[in-house]
Symmetry: C2
Subunit: 210 residues, 2 copies
DNA sequence: TGTTAAGTGTTGCAATTGCAACATACTATA
DNA sequence: TATAGTATGTTGCAATTGCAACACTTAACA
């Protein structure tokens, strides 16, 4: 798994961060991250921790828009958030590196190998990250809760090669991920059980079809 | 707007493509692109043309999963498609460059400035592309057609700074983009008109609120 | 310019969903 | 282990949506 500093020595990493004028920020568990940090023209690197970006719907429900974890890169990629009602929360103690995108692009010493390695790493990380986005779009474009669920199951099952799926989060979070009402999700899962498509024990779901 | 060969001379571009063992492929308008090309472990660059990746739903409806246009980069980012029922179609005459991801990562002459520029460009392109993905997720996570429409309107309006929105595609395509039934979309637009939220003339939609 | 295909508008109806309200189960911790 | 807080299960009901069918309009092109 690539991280932004893969194949860069600690010494060169420090030098690079200095030359790029990087900021290092720490957030305690369950503190909110100022919007100005998320939606400015910077590349952010989550060194460690866990951040959720959640949209607050007018009726009090939430939608999970983005999760950021160790080694994730975010940036102008989420600048569309400027116009939205959202909260970014560090759910764990979190350490961020913030680098102005322009200082990355216009870095003077272009020939430095550690700089080039850094860019290559960023590219690889974004390439991987794109998978998650596409996967979610693939799921969200299904039109019924049942089909969203089945798409989620199938993609997950294909990924692990197993008919057993271990939910990595709560059913509440699953409902947010699928962007559907929790109780309606619960109902649909009940139907799928009754019709013999799946078997559910706690957070383990077993696919019984195909 | 960055393209993969920004700030690289034609001569160096050719050298780079040769060293990376790149394939160049042409597709005529309205021909399908073999899946093996889309979902292998390569980075694809759309030199020119327009590709749609569409999922075929069992009931005959479609979902637009991805659009690729001039200078777009795609790659292992869409490898999840392997498991899905989709068709990739060149809607215009299209020229593709295909490069094995490994040969990019393991490129021997790491110090070549054109190579480093190339990676930097790929990074910037993916960073921009991520915006579209996030934007769409932002929209798709709205739970009603009305809210999806309004989110779409708002984000578009914020982007252009205008209350007038020119649909860049048909209402059929809009329905696919929002992942909702076309006739239900049509009905909802009618309601929005009747309630005075919007005004519609052909493909121009004017926001009357706020 | 006539013909055909594609896009758009409309509506009844059944299926699905969100919402609200409440019951029950689980989990952390004082 | 008692208790509070969170998660999950359930259900009636109203709102929303998908679906199908058909009419009408616009665009493409021979």
């Amino acid at each position: 798994m690539t991280n932004p500093f893969t194949d860069i020595t600690e010494k060169n990493k420090q030098k690079l961060l200095r030359l790029l004028d990087a900021d290092i920020l720490n957030f305690n568990e369950n503190t909110n991250i100022p919007k100005s940090i998320i939606d400015n023209n910077s590349i952010g690197i989550v060194v460690e921790g866990y951040i959720q970006i959640i949209r607050i719907n007018y009726n009090g429900t939430n939608a999970l828009i983005e999760e950021l974890q160790d080694n994730d890169v975010f940036g102008s990629s989420i600048s569309y958030l400027k116009s939205s009602d959202y909260i970014a929360t560090a759910k764990e103690n979190t350490k961020l590196i913030l680098i102005d995108l322009n200082s990355i692009i216009n870095f003077k010493e272009n020939s430095k190998s550690y700089y080039n390695q850094f860019i290559k790493n960023l590219f690889l990380i974004l390439n991987e990250k794109m998978q998650d986005k596409n996967r979610r779009i693939q799921i969200l474009t299904r039109r019924t809760i049942r089909n969203k669920l089945l798409e989620y199951f199938n993609l997950t099952s294909k990924g692990t090669g197993s008919k057993n799926i271990y939910l990595p989060f709560s059913f509440i979070a699953l409902a947010d991920y699928l962007a559907v009402d929790r109780s309606a999700l619960s109902r649909e899962i009940k139907y799928l059980k009754e019709e013999g498509f799946i078997d559910v024990k706690g957070k383990r779901i077993t696919l019984l079809y195909k």
